[in-house]
């Protein structure tokens, strides 16, 4: 069983945590996520034009690029994380252009070598799967797709086809870190999607507090938190790890005890 499947096979909801690579002390910040109890780590690949992100993650992208972060640095961070944490699933998240720049095969094989388990590419929908999906599958990396409130029944099979690991349900039609969706809407959509697939479903966008996370953990297989963690890097800089660990621990407690 691979690392993602093993994590979601546990009898408790999973906490999925996002941080942008190269923003602050990446190794220390990622270790703080693990120490706090994160089940899956999403490492953001910085991009100059993060079209799907709100202000918090946009700024993290710019800070990282401003500090000179390269694709090689992101892969080195992933690889070092894998050395330190052999069992925690690691997912790269980002935009198409940095991923396909040297060709999809190059990226898939470099990510595999770094110990990456899954890839979320925000701007490659199923219609453009050929740009990256086949290379990832060939390398044994899970292409993790996004489903949204606008993904209707007619479209859902196309989204599910070729995706693996888990499905990332985007709770609100919008960008990261902004408003929160009503739990009723999340529950209805997760229930609807579950009728079509056995892939675990993690819910993200707009989740900031342990209370919200616990509520969502009641109805989904996992909860994704990103902007709230990224904001701690902005606010505390070199002292971010202890704050990241504290928030992650309170999220993990709330999620793991939800049901």
């Amino acid at each position: 069983m691979n690392r993602i499947a093993a994590t979601f096979a546990k009898p408790r909801p999973a906490l999925v945590c996002f941080l942008t690579a190269g923003d602050g002390d990446t190794a220390a910040n990622l270790d703080a996520l693990v120490a706090g109890g994160a089940d899956v780590v999403e490492l953001g690949m910085p991009f100059t034009d993060p079209m799907a992100d709100g202000p918090a993650i946009q700024k993290a992208n710019l800070r990282s690029l401003g500090a000179g972060t390269t694709t090689a640095d992101v892969l080195a961070s992933a690889s070092a994380f894998r050395q330190r944490h052999p069992h925690i699933p690691l997912v790269l998240m980002g935009y198409a252009n940095p991923m396909v720049r040297r060709g999809p095969e190059w990226f898939a094989s470099a990510a595999k070598e770094a110990g990456v388990d899954g890839v979320i590419c925000v701007d490659i929908p199923p219609e453009e799967d050929a740009a990256l999906g086949p290379a990832l599958r060939e390398s044994g990396i899970s292409p993790i797709r996004l489903a949204t409130p606008t993904t209707d029944a007619a479209r859902l099979p196309a989204v599910l086809d070729g995706s693996s690991g888990f499905l990332y349900y985007v709770a609100v039609a919008g960008i990261t870190g902004m408003q929160q969706a009503a739990i009723e809407s999340i529950e209805a959509n997760v229930t609807r999607i579950k009728q079509s697939t056995d892939i675990p479903i993690a819910v993200g966008f707009g989740v900031r507090t342990p209370e919200q996370a616990a509520e969502i953990a009641n109805v989904a297989d996992g909860v994704v938190v990103g902007s709230a963690l990224v904001e701690l890097v902005e606010k505390y800089g070199a002292n971010a790890p202890e704050h990241i660990r504290t928030l992650t621990a309170s999220l993990a407690d709330a999620i793991h005890g939800a049901r």
């Binding site: 034009d49 198409a96 252009n97 940095p98 490659i124 985007v170 609100v172 919008g174």
Partner: protein, 404 residues
């Protein structure tokens, strides 16, 4: 759909690709919406009533057909082929941009959308969008980089007079690329009621196709006008290319005429070798941005680099995907022209023809001294004068060291 062998006019394919370019590289939230847009566009294209309303507005509101004009003194000064202008600068709002805005707002109304958003760089597309929103009574929000807001105050005020809300975008370098990012972010959060009027022949499918189709009125008219006045087709077409909407509008109806040569002019800024330019084809490489695969200015890691051009309308690090395809297929040639060359051509056109061209159009005109002599006196060079240059006089004065 039947395919004509060796035709250059049957792109994109059913999935929105021009060869390897184009496509629909958007977040999942937008996918259902752009699929719906495509469905409505197909229906509109097949509906004679839609076409009739579009044609009627172009005639009576925009002022089409735009004239075809023989630039006699410029021809004499340069020597070589006859130089003719397609006078898009005489359209309502002063540029070709309005053709596309009329088409898209009719589509928005047909889809039942009640709000319009758009991005703008120099403000020309913003003004054209605000204009059609006023005409049809729809609320309008224009995203514009804060840097551009500061340097294009007259257009900001025009948009406001027309009833639009102008949102300054502070992210990134606060120019056109960032305005487009912010428009996409806004759109994704307002998919139910909002239509995004993209200003150039780029973005996710079907935008490059529909913008091209709406702008093709330029080439169709020019073709008919030239045939009726000279009995011939042109020997060379020249048009400036930023995103590429005025160029594709002129070129597309001629693509299958093998004797018509075409050159798209890219903005070379301070020169390709300086690294400060906006020539995606000459100085860039293929990548994915803003919903499509196309040539981009980018570094080795795929990070997008800032463009530079004296012409704000050409100051964008990408290009429409059909141009990338026409470039690779060799059907259209693309040449870079620098800021200085464009400034010279701007002044020459003012003095010899009594026409103040937009700095964008001045790039097309700047190719004339290089190519006109390659043509005989009975051959025809047709230049798209895509916009008027009143908006640019402050920039030009500044570049010439004149205080207004």
């Amino acid at each position: 759909m039947s395919t004509i062998a060796n035709s250059f006019r049957t792109q994109p394919d059913d999935s929105g690709h021009f060869g390897q370019f184009g496509g629909r590289y958007v977040a999942e939230t937008l996918m259902p919406l752009i699929l719906d847009l495509e469905k409505h566009y197909r229906a509109a294209k097949a509906d004679p009533a839609f076409q009739a309303e579009f044609d009627d507005l172009l005639e009576h509101y925009v002022g089409r057909p735009s004239p075809l004009y023989f630039a006699e003194r410029l021809t004499e000064a340069l020597g070589g082929g006859q130089i003719w202008f397609k006078r898009e600068e005489l359209n309502h709002t002063g540029a070709h941009k309005i053709n596309n805005c009329i088409g898209q707002i009719l589509l928005a109304i047909r889809m039942g959308k009640t709000r319009i958003i758009a991005e703008t760089g120099a403000g020309q597309h913003g003004v054209a969008t605000a204009t059609v929103c006023a005409r049809f009574g729809l609320p309008c929000t224009i995203f514009m980089g804060a840097t551009d807001v500061a340097r294009q105050q007259p257009n900001v005020f025009r948009m406001k007079l027309l009833g639009a809300e102008v949102v300054p975008v502070e992210s990134g370098a606060a120019t056109l690329k960032d305005a487009m990012n912010e428009a996409l972010r806004h759109w994704v959060a307002h998919v139910d009621d909002t239509f995004y009027i993209i200003g150039t022949a780029a973005g996710p499918h079907p935008y490059p196709e529909l913008v091209r189709d709406f702008q093709s009125v330029i080439g169709k008219e020019a073709r008919a006008q030239l045939l009726s006045r000279t009995g011939k087709l042109p020997d060379l077409l020249l048009a400036a290319v930023g995103g590429g909407s005025n160029a594709i509008g002129l070129f597309h109806p001629f693509l299958d005429d093998p004797d018509v040569k075409m050159i798209g002019i890219e903005a070379a800024g301070h020169g390709i070798e300086s690294g400060q330019h906006a020539a995606s084809l000459t100085g860039g490489s293929p990548g994915v941005l803003h919903g499509n695969k196309t040539y981009l200015l980018q570094d080795a890691d795929g990070q997008i680099t800032e463009a530079h051009s004296i012409s704000a309308g050409l100051d964008y690090p990408g290009i429409g995907p059909e141009h990338s395809w026409l470039h690779e297929s060799g059907r259209v040639e693309y040449l870079p022209v620098t800021d200085d060359e464009a400034l010279d051509a701007f002044q020459t056109c003012c003095r010899l023809e009594g026409i103040i061209p937009a700095l964008e159009s001045a790039h097309a005109l700047a190719a004339l001294p290089k190519v006109a002599k390659d043509f005989r006196e009975d051959q025809i060079i047709l230049v798209n004068v895509s916009g008027r240059g009143d908006k640019d006089i402050f920039t030009v004065a500044d570049a010439l060291g004149v205080k207004i």
